[in-house]
């Protein structure tokens, strides 16, 4: 799957998660904003981690050289 496609998947998961948070725990504007912040931060962190590892492997400069005894 490509980079863009998976990024869109992450975005979709983030949106679904925020909607769930809004539906399940609707506790006033300040608390809602807080939950939204948490979900967005978590989504961005997870996406960033995945994207970095994916990008690093897209055009690698070295390849695995198997060690003896494999």
């Amino acid at each position: 799957m490509g980079f863009v496609l998976t990024t869109l998947i992450f975005a979709a998961i983030g949106i679904i998660a925020s909607l769930c948070a809004r539906i399940c725990c609707n506790k006033g504007p300040s608390a809602n904003l807080f939950h939204l912040t948490l979900v967005i931060t978590a989504t961005i962190c997870c996406w960033l981690m995945w994207a970095i590892v994916y990008l690093a492997q897209m055009n690698p400069l070295i390849v695995p050289i198997l060690s003896e005894g494999e």
């Binding site: 799957m1 490509g2 998976t6 807080f34 912040t37 948490l38 931060t41 978590a42 962190c45 997870c46 960033l48 981690m49 995945w50 970095i52 590892v53 994916y54 990008l55 690093a56 492997q57 897209m58 055009n59 690698p60 400069l61 070295i62 390849v63 695995p64 050289i65 198997l66 060690s67 003896e68 494999e70």
Partner: protein, 773 residues
């Protein structure tokens, strides 16, 4: 505190506080007595009957008095009992000496042989002395007298030697151990004692021996020589002993009954006294106006709680039947209010983590909002292994499931910290599982969960797999690190490069977030000076250097260029006008680098110089108007509180402000390099974790599993389990926790956090109960 200028002893309610303190002392004494008597204090369900404080006071005084008396009496009785017991033993043993002693006198001239002597005859010293004694003795028995007594066993040897020295060897010393342990009233524990009889002659010897006995703490009891008298006295002593025993017994039972009846009420009383003391302490903080017969107090309350407070005050007026209502008046304050963040059980742990560094200034941005996610996330970057993550998750779930039971128990300090951080642990474990899936490590073993590897042999025979390596024939592995890397020779170069660049990217991202938060802070406090002369140059400086580096990293990854980023960054500073040659990553790189370098150079004086000068100008402008006087805002009806906080205007010290700004700028400039490098610890710790994990797996588990012997396999499994649990799960968790915490406290928070506020500490009866215990 309105009464800051009065000493603690001048305050109005000091007597009540003293009385409460006295009562709690008595209560503690009673509690001690109950504990010493070994009774369990059974707490009755709390009866809400309000015992009057004065009645309680006199009751406590009575109880204490009674208890002290009982204790003194029983002690005296016990001592008498002990003495009688010793006397009885001395009678028993010494009697046998005296009987055999008689036979010595009549056996003068007989061949003295060791076998003749009774079996409890100890040493050869005494043998030779006995010979001397009988030889040098005149034949009349009246010269030979004796003293009998009892002495602790540990002192017997020295005692004997002292006696020999003192009487120049002219004595006979017999001893026998007592049959049972006796309570030594000096040290109040059971010791072994020895009964002794000393035969001597002469008056001077007697006084010397008596003095030595006293010095050694030996108790001397007179034993009659006559056998019938001995039995008579022994009978009398036994009778008295049994009497005393019954008396003591009755006394102890009586005391225990009294203690039991007290113990039932004890915890309620203690609670009451604590509450009263706290109330009086708080009342002491108020100002008592004797002429107008009212109390005045100042305090803080959250704005949302105002209607509740007014309602509570109305209820209090009604309940106490007072003539005049309580006045609740909002006033302006010059000093900064305390900080109050409302947290629930989940966010409380994170808020405490942030507060441990410093409590936020009033209305400053709270970093805890982001810390809830970024802290466990950075932990997971350093801990990434989904096998270990699952173990942590299990631990966290157990703690959360038994929340109710564990929160009422008294835990050790380590367990308490672990229990308090259970939600932090939960998030840490969830993120660890995620990062473990990305690093593709399950107890350091990679799995092909997301499909086949993107690498394969160049040809069917795989002949050059060990020399040149595999080849990439498909798109990158869809989720995480390709499983082919594990175990290969080029694994470390690849992973190191990946993780270092990842750390830089996370670092730049978090630091930018910090600077953005400082922007929002300045916006909230309407501090446009800070925005223009601090936020903007800081953003420019950080991003033109390290933001550019992040951009280069991403471009290099996307294009697969062979450019050397170290070279690019260093020569951007050293020779910016040179041609880039093979290090060119994109068109227009050289002019862009020159522009970025120039903007970074401009940003430094931009954040250093303008602000102090502008501040000085503003200060001068403000105090131009001062000469016309300032209207004081109207105060409440009770006037002129000297203790009420009023802020004095300060002089504007330009050099101080300038130096402060210079320090701040230098800190930022140098810090941007060091903080970015500091994020490399994300790489370092994750490498360490991965390597430790690999070592334990390969060198312990696989090695042990290679043998066919089941015992070796079990031992290997056990060692692997222990090493994983203690080193990886405990030590690495603590280590990663600590480093993630440091990254937050220093690298993230020093971009925007003031942290010099103070916490809102409302008076609470519930907090009292937790406090003291």
């Amino acid at each position: 505190m309105l009464n800051d200028d009065k000493s603690p002893f001048q305050r109005t309610f000091v007597n009540q506080v003293k009385r409460c303190a006295e009562m709690s002392r008595k209560l503690r004494f009673l509690k001690d007595q109950i504990n010493k008597a070994g009774l369990l204090s059974s707490a009755l369900p709390t009866l809400q009957s309000d015992v009057d404080l004065e009645a309680l006071e006199s009751q406590l005084a009575d109880h204490e008095h009674e208890l002290i008396e009982m204790n003194a009496n029983s002690e005296k009785l016990q001592q008498t009992y002990n003495e009688l017991l010793e006397f009885k033993m001395v009678l028993q043993k010494a009697g046998s000496f005296l009987i055999s002693g008689k036979s010595y006198e009549s056996a003068e001239g007989r061949e003295l042989d060791e076998n003749v002597y009774p079996s409890d005859y100890p040493e050869s010293d005494s043998t030779s002395l006995l010979e001397q004694a009988t030889q040098s003795e005149p034949s009349n028995s009246s010269g030979l007298r004796f003293i009998s007594g009892i002495i602790p066993k540990s002192k017997v040897l020295f005692f004997e030697r002292m006696l020999f020295r003192a009487t120049r060897g002219n004595l006979l010393f017999n001893q026998a151990p007592a049959d049972e342990l006796i309570m030594d009233h000096v040290s109040s524990e059971m010791v072994e004692k020895t009964i002794f009889v000393v035969f001597f002659s002469g008056e001077q010897a007697k006084t010397k021996i008596l003095k030595i006995c006293e010095a050694f703490g030996a108790n001397c009891y007179p034993v009659p020589e006559d056998l019938t008298k001995q039995t008579q006295i022994t009978q009398e002593v036994s009778l008295r002993l049994s009497e005393l025993e019954t008396t003591l017994d009755v006394g102890i039972r009586h005391r225990n009954a009294a203690l039991h009846s007290i113990g039932v009420h004890l915890s309620i009383w203690m609670n009451m006294v604590k509450r009263e003391k706290a109330v009086f302490d708080t009342l002491n903080m108020l100002n008592f106006d004797v002429t107008k017969k009212c109390l005045v107090g100042e305090g803080w309350c959250p704005i949302f709680a105002k209607p509740q407070i007014q309602e509570a005050l109305q209820r209090a007026t009604f309940d106490s039947n007072s003539q005049i209502g309580i006045i609740f008046h909002v006033m302006d304050s010059v000093e900064s209010p305390p900080t109050y963040f409302r947290t629930n059980t989940f966010t409380n742990a994170y808020q405490e983590i942030v507060d441990a560094y410093g409590v936020a200034k009033y209305q400053e941005a709270n970093p805890a909002v982001y810390t809830v996610i970024t802290f466990p996330f950075l932990f997971a970057v350093m801990f990434g292994d989904w096998g270990h993550g699952i173990c942590l998750l299990l631990g966290a779930l157990i703690l959360i499931a038994r929340e109710g039971k564990l929160s009422s128990q008294k835990l050790g300090s380590f367990m308490e910290m672990l229990f308090g951080g259970r939600y932090v642990l939960l998030l840490m474990s969830l993120f660890s599982i995620y990062c473990g899936l990305i690093y593709n490590e399950f107890f350091s073993v990679p799995y092909h969960i997301f499909g086949d590897s993107a690498y394969r042999c160049r040809d069917a025979s795989c002949s050059d797999a060990h020399t040149v390596g595999l080849i990439k024939y498909r798109d990158a592995y869809p989720f995480g690190v390709d499983p082919s890397w594990r175990g290969s020779r080029s694994e470390l170069p690849f992973l190191n490069s990946l993780k270092m660049k990842m750390s830089i990217l996370f670092g730049v991202a978090q630091m930018n977030l910090g600077i953005m938060l400082s922007y929002f802070n300045s916006l909230f406090f309407n501090n446009s000076l800070d925005i223009r002369y601090q936020f903007i140059p800081q953003m420019i400086f950080l991003n033109s250097l390290f933001g550019y580096l992040s951009l280069l990293i991403i471009i290099k990854w996307c294009t697969g260029s062979q450019a050397d980023l170290y070279h690019v960054m260093i020569y951007m500073f050293l020779s910016p006008f040179d041609d880039l040659a093979e290090n060119e990553l994109f068109w227009g790189q050289r002019p862009l680098q020159i522009v970025l370098l120039l903007s970074a150079l401009v940003a430094v004086p931009w954040m250093l110089f303008p602000k102090p000068f502008i501040l000085r100008k503003l200060h001068a402008e403000r105090f131009q108007g001062r000469r016309y006087g300032v209207l004081r805002s109207s105060e409440m009806d009770i006037d002129s509180e000297p203790g009420s906080a009023r802020h004095h205007e300060e002089e504007f010290n330009f050099s101080e402000v300038f130096v402060h700004q210079m320090i701040h700028s230098i800190e930022f400039v140098l810090g941007s390099v060091s903080n970015t490098a500091s994020y490399l610890r994300l790489w370092a710790l994750s490498l360490a974790h991965s390597e430790l994990s690999t070592v334990f797996y390969e060198k312990v588990l696989l090695l042990a599993w290679g043998y066919e012997n089941i015992l070796i396999r079990m031992v290997g499994l056990a060692v692997f389990a222990f090493a994983t649990a203690f080193i990886l799960l405990m030590m690495e968790t603590l280590s990663a926790f600590l480093h993630a915490l440091r990254l937050h406290w220093v690298e993230f928070q020093n971009k925007f956090y003031g942290g010099d506020g103070y916490k809102f500490k409302p008076f609470s009866f519930a907090a009292l109960a937790d406090d003291e215990d």
